[in-house]
């Protein structure tokens, strides 16, 4: 199979750059997958990791003490001097994510039933802050009930009652088939980041092959070889398919190598299947693009396409955080459906045929994309050959 061999010789020649890209992408994916999985875990478990906060009070009273104790259940207090620059630094470097300030005369005004507020300064986009907000609001609202209803309640007994009330909590039970998203988040994120690397690698390799084979002199030379054009095309196709399979295999293997234990379950099989479908799609897309670009434009195209698709369709930023109009645009891309299916797989708790139907539509849509890309690629290739 001379053509097949030639293809791999060409790929081998570009091995160094490709390996460099693969290594960079995979390292980035891994760090991001681990980091996001950790974040997700903190976000989703009922037992919140304690946040670091600064508690500054210009008012001292049992009520403020009580609030501090209540906050102590969900937060660590960090001592930072009450100076703008110092607090700014602490928030900037995320030493703390929340600064709570109780203004002077707070308790007195509160007990008189006046409208008073405590002040907060937060580092943006730290979701755990929500729990601090909730706790403060709950504490003060409950206190307000007592203050308005019972006129001669002493501060001490108010605080004592609040302590008792707020120590109650709901009994939570995990259902029979419970799915621990925390531990599986790693898998989901790893697979979510993969399209970025895969698209890059595939466009890079396939464009390289297409450019060599589209060279008209070379084509003329090949046309007079004793090899039938059918066999030549088949070998060329086969090389592309093998290359795509290899890329798929390497990325999946890395996932296993990194975290063998967590990868051994049914959802991995689903993720792998979905990623396989996506690989078909990405391969046909790269094949199409490879026939369109010239050598100088390969890196530009592969970067723009991979980053563009990744950004708008939820590879880098989870889909729930992306604006709805962007997602509408994104639904015209295969990556959107890949991530969509992954998110659905992450929700699965059982893996029977019923459940498979739940994730099937996303995969079928990706296959349709693949078919469309392939047909366009064929038309382009034909046109190029005739010109």
């Amino acid at each position: 199979m001379p053509v097949f061999k030639l293809c791999f010789k060409i790929l081998k020649k570009n091995m160094f750059l490709m390996t460099m890209y693969i290594v960079i992408f995979i390292v980035v994916s891994i760090i991001m997958a681990f980091a996001s999985a950790n974040e997700q875990k903190n976000l989703s478990s009922f037992t919140q990791e304690k946040r670091n906060i600064v508690f500054i009070t210009e008012d001292s009273s049992p009520l403020v003490e009580g609030l501090k104790q209540e906050l102590g259940k969900i937060a660590n207090f960090v001592d930072i001097p009450d100076q703008t620059e110092a607090l700014q630094d602490a928030l900037y470097f995320r030493v703390v994510t929340y600064v709570l300030r109780i203004p002077r005369g707070f308790t007195e005004a509160f007990m008189r039933g006046e409208d008073v507020q405590v002040e907060k300064t937060v580092a943006p986009a730290s979701y755990g802050n929500l729990y601090i907000d909730l706790t403060v609001d709950k504490y003060l609202n409950t206190a307000r009930l007592y203050v308005n209803q019972l006129e001669n309640l002493s501060l001490e007994s108010l605080v004592e009652r609040l302590r008792q009330d707020l120590s109650q909590s709901t009994v939570t039970e995990l259902g029979r088939v419970h799915n621990n998203t925390g531990s599986n988040a790693y898998l989901k994120y790893y697979y979510n980041y993969l399209p970025y690397s895969l698209i890059n690698i595939l466009i890079f390799g396939m464009a390289e092959l297409a450019i060599v084979f589209n060279n008209s002199d070379l084509r003329k030379r090949n046309a007079c070889s004793p090899l039938s054009s059918k066999s030549m095309n088949l070998q060329y196709m086969l090389a592309n398919v093998v290359f795509a399979l290899l890329s798929w295999f390497i990325t999946v293997a890395v996932c296993f190598a990194l975290n063998f234990k967590k990868s051994l379950n049914m959802s991995t099989v689903y993720y792998m299947l979905n990623f396989f479908v996506f690989a078909i799609c990405a391969a046909t897309m790269s094949f199409m693009l490879g026939n369109l670009v010239n050598r100088g434009a390969i890196t530009a195209v592969s970067n723009v396409v991979s980053l563009g698709l990744s950004f708008i369709s939820g590879v880098f930023v989870p889909q729930e955080f992306i604006g709805s109009y962007v997602l509408k645009v994104a639904s015209f891309t295969p990556t959107y459906w890949y991530v969509y299916t992954n998110d659905r797989i992450a929700e699965l708790t059982q893996f029977d045929f019923e459940k498979f139907k739940y994730v099937l539509p996303g995969m079928l849509i990706q296959l349709c994309f693949a078919l469309a890309f392939f047909s366009v690629a064929m038309v382009i290739a034909k046109k190029k050959r005739l010109s």
């Binding site: 609202n141 009930l145 009994v171 259902g175 729930e320």
Partner: protein, 378 residues
Amino acid sequence: MFAHIFRYRLKCLLRDRETIFWTLVFPLILAVLFNMAFSNLNKVEGFSPIDIAVVDNRQYQEDQYFKMTLKEVSQGDDRLFNLVVVSEDEANKLLNENSIAGYIVVEDSVKLVVNQTGIEQSIIKSFLDNYIQTLSAVNSILTLNPAGGQELFNELGNRYQYIREVPIAKAEPNNILLYFYSLIAMACLYGSFFGMREINDTQPNITPLAARINTAPVHKLKLFIYSMSASILIHITEIFILLLFLRFVINVDFGTRTVYVILTAIVGSVVGNAFGAFISATVKKDENLKIGISICVSMVGSFLSGMMYQNMKYIVAKKMPLLSYLNPVNLLTDAFYCLYYYDSLEKYALNMSILLIFILAFCSGIYLMVRRRKYASI
């Protein structure tokens, strides 16, 4: 002489479409993508109601107050829950099908059953916790003051907002800005493509153009400085276009100190160019490797400064503070953010001085390596 070389160098560089793409078009495309992906991060998106079920048993039917509370939060457009009242078996089935996030059973106390822990489940639990805690408060108030019944229930509906957010300085902290700032920093470092080309074009063993230029009776250092200034001029212009685009099309806030922002952009561009030239002078192998190294450094640098994953910046600052001062992308990002965020210029000055040290180091490196290079035969 200067005018001549400078003019032709400008023409020559402007016709290099590939470099123009990477240094100008690519950052612009990324800016648009960032805007699409991140525009919603800081906003609170329309909250969609959570699907839950409550088990229809005797205790639930008897607990009028709980029933009422649940009904209240499951009504209207801004409702918290989509509620269904079903039997326990049905609730289990719904839960296993993922049609609901969890279900509530009223027994001696209120119980929540879920299959997984997630944001939705945490919200349900917070709601229920709040309910039983308030209930406990109501009970203890009623034992002390049995007369206050009606008034108390009326008051339960009013919740006061006890927290007010105050910015610590004039600028509000804003994480999305960091993405855009690190994008500018990356674009600055992409200036290395220009710097790299300048060195390549003085090395006769790399390009035929350099071979031709080397035969010209012009002082090589002067020649290099002249053409380098053309490169830097083009790159600074590109960075300005990017800044203008970010400021006026995407509405990125740069704070009020415009002059310093411009100064930072200029220094950033020079760092990028000097870096590229330095790499090009150090690596004597082929061009691909040079490009590879410079992309690698700027990408890894951008990654470490939080362009792809924001928390990376804080991880580096916490675990390896030295690295954050050795990473030019991070220094530039911080310089922009300092201008926006801090009132004093102390931190900004620190970042800028390190950048200037980088420029000095690169330039002296280039000088030492490139000077008096001789080519016996090519």
